[in-house]
């Protein structure tokens, strides 16, 4: 908090000193005012929502596919072996590289973001789930065997709870990857604003991003143009 205020004060001082032209470094007060105005407009929020929705849909599919696949491949060696190549390949594959192809196939809407986010997070979730499932202690597995715990109950009450910390770590990571991928998609394709035929690539991308820094940048763009 202190650091933040310190930075703002420093920024203001540099601005006041006049060592940088106004178009390069506007005063923090002006930027704040622009940001506040942007927050009041409906477009800002629709654009923000489109970004978030794309990330959320992709993330949701990633979870729905990734966790069951992770459990299966974590438990059964055969399943792991048959999927290992795909998972190793997919984990290293830069999802963003698919943008060009996918734009041609499914356009630039929310589907594009969802698909790319899915590709970017699903392998991560699979690997984290596998890891969690394998960390169940052998004594617990022995115990559930000795007491003949049926497999459905075993997955629900033993495997998932003990893999939960690892899965949650995967989800946290996946969430930030999802946001990053969505923003990158918007930067690269110029959607959603350019899809409506207005705005430049850069301002569209930055304005639709959900982080305050980019919103600041957007205001900055508005001022300098």
């Amino acid at each position: 908090m202190l650091i933040l205020f310190g930075m703002l004060a420093l920024w203001h001082l540099v601005h006041l000193s006049g060592s940088l032209p106004d178009s390069l470094l506007p005063s923090p007060i002006a930027v704040g005012a622009e940001l506040f105005q942007a927050l009041l407009t409906a477009t800002y929020w629709t654009i923000l929502w489109e970004t978030v929705a794309g990330a959320l849909v992709g993330l949701a599919f990633g979870v729905v596919v990734g966790i069951p696949v992770g459990i299966l491949t974590g438990r059964f060696v055969a399943a792991e072996l048959s999927l290992r190549f795909l998972v190793d390949f997919g984990r290293a594959f830069p999802a963003i590289a698919l943008v060009a192809v996918l734009v041609l196939m499914i356009g630039r809407g929310i589907e594009l973001k969802a698909v790319l986010v899915f590709v970017a997070v699903v392998f991560l979730i699979i690997l984290q789930t596998q890891h969690g499932v394998r960390s169940v202690s052998s004594s617990i597995v022995d115990t559930t065997q000795a007491f003949q715990i049926p497999s459905g109950l075993f997955v629900r009450k033993v495997l998932l709870p003990s893999a939960a910390p690892s899965i949650m770590a995967g989800l946290r990571l996946a969430a930030s990857v999802a946001v990053l991928v969505t923003i990158s998609v918007e930067v690269l394709t110029g959607s959603p604003e350019s899809a409506r035929g207005s705005g430049t690539l850069r301002s569209a991308a930055t304005r639709s991003s959900p982080t305050p820094t980019s919103s600041l940048e957007a205001c900055w763009d508005m001022r300098s143009t």
Binding site: S137, S138, S139, T143, A146, F147, Q148, I149, L153, A164
Partner: protein, 261 residues
């Protein structure tokens, strides 16, 4: 508590049982041509040095591992997997309780797998916890309990399962002497009150002689049964007087000799 009883005088038997791990040059023969019959209603102690294959033998008896050759049968029927009539308390009791379940849920969990109704699960688990003296800990988590208490929870879990046979693998290995004595007496109480057939694996000779109606000495490599002794101490035991009896002292030196051979 009601529990089904065994019909035959022999609860568990192993005939010509061998077990090896691995294959080719890495093959280890752990047990070879072992014969053993566990009598119903007895406390049988399997005693032997570390690494001799006691855990392996117990897993074979529990149906958790299958013999490379030979057969294990319960009540005269061959077993090929885990069965309802056998409950197990594992060597690593800390690791065998689920840390995300409270004590009561841990004890009730195996019953859920059997399709017992929720209210009955809870009452049976509470009853079993009362037997082991943990009624006041039912809503704690296992990791909030001392080692001795955790082991009581593991015993209660086996008890709530209401199996006529209970197998225990070095159940009191890492506990202090005082707690050990209490839990040994708890085992004797289970046999007395519920007529459970109990097999205790241990490397502690005193414990084997104190608990056992019968002490089976396992040794050699691959291991086999070195000796099989009926303990002449009667069924009522007491930590102080029993351990001072000449028969006790004589038997423990006898077993110690065999293990050191």
């Amino acid at each position: 508590m009601t529990r089904e009883t065994l019909t035959s005088p022999v609860a568990l038997s192993a005939t010509h049982v061998s077990k090896s791990f691995g294959s080719g040059p890495d093959r280890v023969d752990v047990i070879e041509d072992l014969h053993l019959s566990i009598r119903s209603g007895d406390v049988t102690c399997l005693v032997g040095p570390s690494g001799v294959g006691k855990t392996t033998l117990l897993r074979l008896l529990a149906g958790l591992a299958s013999p490379t050759s030979g057969q294990v049968s319960m009540d005269g029927v061959p077993i090929t997997g885990a069965v309802e009539q056998i409950a197990v308390v594992f060597q690593d009791y800390r690791g065998s309780l689920m840390p995300w379940m409270k004590v009561l849920q841990n004890v009730a969990f195996p019953l859920e797998g059997r399709g017992v109704s929720k209210s009955e699960r809870t009452s049976r688990a509470a009853e079993a916890l009362a037997v082991v003296g943990l009624s006041d800990k039912i809503s704690s988590y296992p990791w909030q309990l001392s080692g001795g208490m955790q082991q009581r929870v593991a015993i209660a879990r086996a008890l709530a399962y209401e199996s006529p046979i209970l197998l225990m693998d070095e159940p009191f290995g890492s506990l202090d002497a005082q707690t050990r004595f209490e839990l040994e007496d708890l085992v004797l109480q289970l046999r007395r009150d519920f007529g459970i057939t109990i097999v205790v694996v241990t490397h502690d000779i005193d414990e084997a002689v104190y608990l056992g109606d019968r002490v089976v000495v396992v040794g050699g490599r691959p291991s086999r049964i070195v000796d099989d002794i009926d303990v002449p101490l009667g069924r009522e035991r007491d930590q102080i007087t029993t351990r001072a009896e000449p028969a006790f002292i004589q038997l423990r030196s006898h077993v110690l000799n065999e293990i050191q051979l």
